[in-house]
Symmetry: C2
Subunit: 498 residues, 2 copies
Amino acid sequence: MASIARSSLRLRSVTRVPTARAISTTPHLRAAAKPFFADEPAAPQLATAIPGPKNKAATAELDKVFDVRSLNMLTDYSKSIGNYIADLDGNVLLDVYAQIASIPVGYNNPHLTKVAQSPEMITSLINRPALGNFPSADWADILNTGILKVAPKGLNQVFTAMAGSDANETAYKAAFMYYRQLQRGGPEKEFTEEELKTTMTNQAPGSPQLSIMSFKSGFHGRLFGSLSTTRSKPIHKLDIPAFDWPQAPFPSLKYPLEEHAQENAQEEQRCLQETERLIKEWHNPVAAVVVEPIQSEGGDNHASPAFFRGLREITKRNNVLFIVDEVQTGVGATGKFWAHDHWNLETPPDMVTFSKKAQTAGYYYGNPALRPNKPYRQFNTWMGDPARALIFRGIIEEIERLNLVEHTAQTGDYLYSGLQRLAEKYPEHLQNLRGKGQGTFIAWDTPKRDEFLGKAKGVGVNIGGSGVNAVRLRPMLIFQQHHADILLESIEKIIKQL
Amino acid sequence: MASIARSSLRLRSVTRVPTARAISTTPHLRAAAKPFFADEPAAPQLATAIPGPKNKAATAELDKVFDVRSLNMLTDYSKSIGNYIADLDGNVLLDVYAQIASIPVGYNNPHLTKVAQSPEMITSLINRPALGNFPSADWADILNTGILKVAPKGLNQVFTAMAGSDANETAYKAAFMYYRQLQRGGPEKEFTEEELKTTMTNQAPGSPQLSIMSFKSGFHGRLFGSLSTTRSKPIHKLDIPAFDWPQAPFPSLKYPLEEHAQENAQEEQRCLQETERLIKEWHNPVAAVVVEPIQSEGGDNHASPAFFRGLREITKRNNVLFIVDEVQTGVGATGKFWAHDHWNLETPPDMVTFSKKAQTAGYYYGNPALRPNKPYRQFNTWMGDPARALIFRGIIEEIERLNLVEHTAQTGDYLYSGLQRLAEKYPEHLQNLRGKGQGTFIAWDTPKRDEFLGKAKGVGVNIGGSGVNAVRLRPMLIFQQHHADILLESIEKIIKQL
């Protein structure tokens, strides 16, 4: 039955990209093409111009109480399935944006439905614990069979949070406490009277003028500490007070990589040198460096594993912590469970933050000294949400059952090769194609980017951008070759309209 | 059946507090004493010393992966019901701490169970939307029948968030954007090139050195912006960089209030004058003042409605926004749905933040100019969680069905009178009793506070503190007279052990 379904899908989503076609005949990829969602539509369905009349009316209604100017599409989740997102007017789009890269195993995933109906879920929803004070008896088990089952190598503990911004900010707080503890000479050293007094008026030494270093074009969230490390776009930062923290240069690589190997290596060296200089010289001492494996919101900017290994070396050499922000890159989309698995680090990051596809959030760590020296220093009422931790466990189970990380690596290769063909055919519209070997975490630049995104729904796909010029692909982990075929065909249709 | 159940409860929870007894015979309170949870135990059940062996073993297991030094009690939520919280060793305690004041309608509330099993809940859990981009078709309805149904008077819009800290921080962000917009001369004015450039390096004018004023002993959260307004205890703030923001004095009232009326009025005047002076003179201009109706974490510090009306006048006169942080006081516990309903303000607060008993979070506002002038200035991936918004709606339904706000006002009066008797009997152990007319939001000071709290579980109650010397009562809204009787009896037992 699966192969019949596959054939019919193929008939409807035939693509004109020969290279992609060629790759799809290799045995391991044929195996991967069995549809994960039997009830998924075979192709996008367009019923009206988008937005249609029902969506327009419902959006006007919502606007009365809720700011809708960032609204992309009011969604009928009851009709969305797998890789397909539905609106109120009968339009069903192939979704390669996936709630800003946060849906991993498909809309209305049957296994997650079971998790949502489980007794554990119900008690988590109705008896929400203050996790730091009154965790449930099975909280250790929920962590060990879920969040911690997929902990990055070398990190075996977690502080749970709500979303990406507070995951990063609590990691920063841990870094500052650790830094000052080292300065004081150990966890047993008491705070001075002056520290206890000055911190109540936000002054040093109690509230020290330390810093977190981030990279140009990086994005780490929108609360006051995380926003001070976010360097993506002015609109994210304007009018909001920020800490005087340093910004290091992020490599600006040239594509195709194989034609610019030496130049790119030099660029990465330049950035590493400047990073180390800033760590040594910045007037507010640097407690930690935070970096995304692939700068996502800021434009899908990549750097090589060598660059990140260099960064790890620099942070070690200068006794600053190394925080890897895997909020967007984590949980499989790059073809590894964690994107930093691509780097082959000798020593793991000090902290790794996660959210989005995890549906919950927090930071992993390994060094016990990163637990603050006294209780209640890293604490809040809820400290995350066990309901969302249960959903993450269900997602992990789906990823394992369907081998979705390897699957995504393979689908990504297939998709990339198709895009490469398109880039050769339409070089003016598909520039700096990047993400080779990074699963489906693929992007390119295009001079008419906003026009490109605007026309995507008209050909049946929901697709997002990043930075100023980039189209970013963020399909789910259940995105398959036949979806890639539809996507490639759709991209070509859009290009022809530009 | 209800009256039989009530009688049997009374037999087991007989109290020695005559005043409370006397009050319980008034007709409206007799009516309120019908048990809300038929299956609740009639009294606390103590099976072992606390923590018992199973709790100890399970805590040691959790400690391997999760910091347990703030752990109060590993909880068996399956055996917790109504006002009673169970541990793993068979101990069942009357819970007047309620997950740090965040459980409103009882453990395993049957109506919330239905909400948790509803199709809407399941889709919210498994198809988590990026609410700013892809809200569900029924998001407006979920808001209007839930969060917005209980919006404070004069405020008809909401920005949804995850928890108290980011609710406050997003309100602060809205305040800063509004402040700069006024300075610029309106929403249509464009940002300058210099602003666009400087904000990317966290410098003024793009990242201006504006401030949020908070009050001494206030608590507003633990992320970087909210922590800069938190002034509760050094342990919450030490080693974390903070903004140079002003701290106003909060009135230090003397009790009993009726004996210190003139002195207290003068103290409030002094604080108001100093607040206004700081607004006018602080080197980083003040965009907003944030205040709790009752300072909770900082020690249950109250001020009069006149003080808050004065604050509203000062903020209006000086063109700074007035943010009321109802994270702990909101949703009925003070005998009004919002604690600031006690103030009879002429103009509503500019923003009111909420979380805890709402089980979700955000800020209410009314002035359309508080929507930032462009989209994506106030935004993040999830912008809250519809699953938790559905739970809040279920809580609101329970509050309405059982008339729990009025009920809490009445139970609070009953409880307060009982505590007043105890304070007369044990003046050294029950000082500065406060919260009269504020529902069950009651506290007092006691010189041996930590010892008091430590002994509470031994007599069958789970109870919390605030500040350095205060015992804070934070029962649920379903706390009834017969629970108050047990609590009063338990408090007397503890005092006799000190």
